[in-house]
Symmetry: D2
Subunit: 433 residues, 4 copies
């Protein structure tokens, strides 16, 4: 490629994560010369955008690079002619997340922002906004790649692939974190490890863990070694269970495999600390206090506690490989095709991909344990129905999605939950009301 003037638009640019992606662009500048970096946010985010935007400019200045950081509330201006568009936003802000977490728990159901009824509500709010952004991209930057970090990333990615012509990839930091964990565990570089992931976003299993070409999975299970994240309580897995499973479940799978314990812990924690949204809210306030410091010109260490560690590294790696036709392997959310043979071809899945200039090519899976097929299929069914409901605003479809989610205990509870949650999100669900 000979193109010289790359333009990137970051939707939700006022997010506390932004310094991380800016750091990534600076590091890769030589191989991927970004000249315009547009941070765009909505009116409610004007203040945060200003703070983060200034920090980004100081970082670029310190690096001595000709990256022009532009701040705007005009999304179309940011998107026009962009090569990459990233989305990192939260429709309804943390207040909505608080409700996503709180209402299910009050009905005795897991309340989490990506898994279960909470994730479903987040999806119903987010999908229409994302598809609206896609219309702008189709019109103003038809060749752009949209990198989607917005949760629930699997659903959002599948919605875009089904309902727009925008080229998109979904990203989660869980795979890259496992990779780093594995490299550290064996004292090798990240290039020498290659885990195999099977599943869909926030519902994957590690089925092999190659270190220099040798599979260390059983060794990890034997040693009780696993990676978890700040936002999910890390109860230990039962050894007999993992051993007969022959795979390491992602930490999000605790919601399914330890439902009773997780729910009890959630209730207790809710009383003590409020929801996870409340915790994040406090962390964010502290971060923005730091960002205001005019002497700060690099990503502060504290950002790593935010929960989304290495998201931006993953995103910058992906852009770089798309740009250079690098054909390296990354774990991404992409269209299934025939990789997971029991899921629809147009479902999004999260698996290892070879990243080419034409997009990521999902890799055939060595082994999909029989045990997990039903659960993957059940959750994917819920996801696809949720997309259909979000786009149509059809309450019957939403009811089917809710009721067939494995964490919802009955039609009766699912129906009550749906009614409550739709009502509470009325302002963000014009399709339904």
């Amino acid at each position: 490629m000979t193109k010289k003037q790359l333009k990137v638009a970051v939707i939700g640019g006022g997010s506390s994560y932004t310094p991380e992606i800016v750091e990534g662009f600076i590091k890769k500048y030589d191989e991927m010369p970004i000249r315009e970096l547009w941070l765009v946010d909505i009116e409610e985010g004007r203040h945060k955008l200003a703070i983060v935007g200034e920090l980004a400019r100081r970082m670029v200045e310190k690096a001595g690079l000709p990256i022009d950081v532009k701040l705007t509330l005009n999304r179309r201006e940011a998107i026009a002619g962009a090569d990459f568009v990233t989305t990192q936003m939260r429709v309804g802000l943390l207040e909505a997340r608080r409700r996503d977490e709180h209402i299910p728990i009050s009905h005795g159901v897991i309340g989490q922002e990506t898994t279960g009824p909470g994730g479903m509500m987040k999806a119903l709010r987010t999908v229409p906004v994302i598809l609206d952004i896609c219309k702008d991209i189709e019109e103003l930057a038809p060749d752009a790649w949209m990198l989607n970090f917005t949760n629930p990333a699997g659903i959002v990615t599948e919605a875009v692939q089904k309902h727009s012509r925008v080229k998109t990839v979904g990203l989660c930091n869980s795979p890259i974190n496992f990779q780093k964990f594995l490299a550290k565990e064996y004292g090798v570089s990240e290039r020498d490890v290659m885990p195999e992931f099977v599943g869909i976003n926030h519902l994957h299993w590690v089925t092999a863990a190659y270190v220099n070409g040798e599979d260390k999975l059983q060794e990890l299970i034997n040693g009780g070694k696993d990676y978890s994240a700040a936002n999910v309580t890390a109860f230990d897995w039962d050894f007999d269970f993992l051993s007969s499973l022959g795979a390491i479940p992602t930490y999000y799978l605790r919601y399914f495999y330890m439902t009773d314990t997780m729910l009890a812990e959630m209730k207790e924690s809710l009383e003590k600390n409020g929801t996870r949204a409340d915790v994040v809210s406090r962390v964010e306030e502290e971060l923005f206090e730091l960002y205001k410091d005019v002497y700060l010109n690099e990503k502060p260490k504290q950002l790593e506690n935010r929960g989304g560690a290495y998201y931006s590294e993953a995103a910058v790696n992906l852009m770089h490989s798309l740009y250079t036709d690098k054909r390296d392997i990354q774990t991404l959310n992409v269209r299934n095709g025939g990789i997971i043979d029991f899921l629809p071809e147009d479902a999004s899945i999260e698996v290892n991909c070879v990243v080419t200039a034409q997009g990521p090519v999902p890799q055939p899976l060595q082994r999909v344990p029989e045990q997990i097929k039903g659960l993957i299929h059940a959750v994917k069914t819920y996801e696809s129905l949720t997309i259909e409901a979000a786009v149509s605003g059809d309450r019957g479809t939403a009811l089917q999605a809710m009721v067939h989610h494995p964490l919802v205990p009955s039609v009766a509870v699912g129906k009550r939950l749906l009614d409550d949650m739709l009502e509470a999100n009325k302002a963000y669900l014009p399709n339904f009301f």
Copy 2:
């Protein structure tokens, strides 16, 4: 076919159901001339076998037919040269069923003899015994068809298809009962109705209900019309749910769609009436009292309350079509092939089949609602793992089966349940101990 001397062996011939199948053979005698009917049972069933056998002989005598009813405890003698072998047995007798129902409830999980952990235990006890019978059939009657009524019929049928060369079909009375319900509802003959069933044994949905070629499904949903059975409490379905589902779930699906209500009802009923096993136990006692009456020479009306109404009609119909290459349509448990495209080819499914002399040919499905795919896949996954565990006696595989059953709330509960239930069934599980 020109063969004149048909021989049928009924394994578990001392069952209270036997008079029904005898009645069936008598009615169809002209088209399917059975000359030898062997009723075989185990030592513990000697007394019941004698009572039922005598009744069978009186029924044949009254009909004036040359059917020779033979009673034996020697299974091999009964099987040798048979054209059809039917199995209707209960490994561990009602005492085992009592435990299957009771132990799960004590852990807060649905306790049912075919669905959930109870069904799993029944399967673990039954599969090895059935495969042992199959060895005899392979040796002594290699061309015989085995008609399997023994629950969990889907698992048992799949086990036979995977682990023996015996030709087998699984039978449930639920489809024939729906058909009769439909015919009655519309005042037409059974030949003029044709429901379409999608799913697996005890987990199917009716997705179309043709009456004289017109689909009446939506009409049935609108009218709140549905069929249920004596052994499952018939809470009403939510109209919005059925309507957006576009299908009528079998009554067994209440365990999945109304888990909370069904569990509460089970606990209450347990305190009042004991388990379903206790109820059945009382009904059976009454039946055998009737059977003893030397003046009784026909199937008593009371048998219809037993729970398995029309089982025998279904069985006799099936034998008749196999024998005459009739190519009519019946709903049966057969090897999937590619009919349900997301399940393994060697899974058993319960669908409409054209019955030929070479066996039943499953019919392509018009429509499989997206919503139900995950649940079907999850339960089938549990079923296949259960078969693997039953054959191997591997506790890890059993744990995977248990934990991945949708009615089991967590790895921890599943593991405790498994330990308790295996221990309680020790006497019947030589593979595990």
Copy 3:
């Protein structure tokens, strides 16, 4: 069904075949009361239509039935409100067939009206006309079933299924003839035989031949027994070949398996008798002479020599089963779905179907010999490309269809043939010129 007034439209009603279908309607009148029978033809067929129409009226009168036979050149009038529409026509008349047979032979390639380049030309002429008829049906009789006899029947049926919403089934007389041959061979009724056909129209293999439930295929092969038709020279099959094939190829497969011999015979016969079109031309003249006889009031015996024996019996059987939801088994050209797993789902195939009121349901195949898969796939590829070419008028697509037909020896010959044949059919190919 309670509908009393059935209306049937026969497109190409002036055909010499019509007396046969009229006879069929008369025979089945009690179960399928047709009140209006519309025979429609084009201006060029006015004379023949009048002759055949009068014969039809005499036949109905003799039978004493209230079937109103209507003759018209106005297709839309005939179609409006019809329950069944049948098509039996020849775009370009016998003159075009003459060219289809002659031009390929002059390039050293098989010249046949359904197989090879001749069939391709016939398809290019016919598909647009059929799709035009379908537009009328969509508008004027949207619930009608279209029964298609028009050759190449597989291509025409697939074209309708892909490019219109009309419900259609394709029919060939080859399967019913094999069935009659088989019944006669074993001295049983047609109801007691059940051959299994695998393949596509004019390219199928009989892979099993059940007589009273027993497979007699090997017996037929051993005895050198086979059925052929008037229009295909019946050179004997090589015994070793059939025996290792494990199937009996339809007589049309001689064009593929005996290409050299068939071509030589064609060249010789061409010199002696002209093309098959010339032969048919003479037979038709004789038939119409007979039809003119005002004392003739039944189908004349001589029609059976015409080559399409039992076409009409097949058609009437099909209508009857569609009308009564009979669910019997017939061999038809239908949408593949997943029956032949290596062909596209929307390809037409010719297999056994259960005929329901909703249409024919293709039956799963017991066995598809490995050997024949490549040839089926190659010819189906040619067929689908031909449809695409007929609809688009794209010469490149037509070239691909021609070149990839297994009977065309090279790109160079294929291209010359295509140029010649398109030019010769210019008047009937507005899409191309």
Copy 4:
């Protein structure tokens, strides 16, 4: 990987190709330290082995590397403990090739050593010998990778994958040559080009030709640019044909797309120069004259005219990537899995693969043109039947393979050809005689 002492066994080490692979090992020594290189041949090749072996030793000495070149006629000694085994042999020597080429032409059929009846005979001779070698590898070097160059490479590779537990990959030089051609054409490095190949060995199409991430395929077609090889006459492709095909066929496809021209040329050339076997025979004699020169200590330029250019580069690249888990993309013959969805999962195909330490992972194909599916399927059908015939020695299966090859014009010709060729190869076909 930390293993230090790599051992490689070259079966057919006396081949004139050997200096090329030796050169490859020398170049890659730093990254892939081969310590033992075993050249093994049969008694008939003793003389050539000595000559080539001495040259290999001189080459290693000149490079100053500690590679121990061992010569042996004892295959088991060479294989024991090997990390890689390569096979480059010719059962029956050039004399057999002469017959493979000559006999078909005498029946009016293409005579070529890998395509058509000639390739079939070569396969029948070679498969049993290769499977015999595999037994040694299973016993003496179970972890070794077998790299197979022996033609017909697709058949041989599939045979090994179906009938042994040896890990194998098939290699052809055609893809690497196209890659080099493409890089040269656009003046970029080989790392910047990425063609996509679809098909099976010697029957593939280039469906995309990325240069720095942009597809140049149409440009190549427009410019009439294509790559051919020394052993296949390069008649020009028809532009209209390629353009509507949307792909560039490999030069071997001229046998299928230009059958008439190629056959005519073959007959003419046969009279003038003898078969290709005769030509190769003369080239080989010259090469061995050169190799004898004790002052020669590098691969002579003349070897590049031999016809198998860059075979060894491909082989060394493959070993290197397997050894280092490099995960780069190479075009290889591997098990299909689900990549070409209409072929059996256990068929060998030739496509782009990511090469990992666990073996090559075939990449999903972007596009398989409809046109070519039938031809691929037909030839693969022939290939699989040929393997079955080679292993079983069943003449009926061989007949089916022969007759269903698209280049064989009829059952009659196929049967005569088969009889002649089996008879002529009697000495090498113990399974058949």
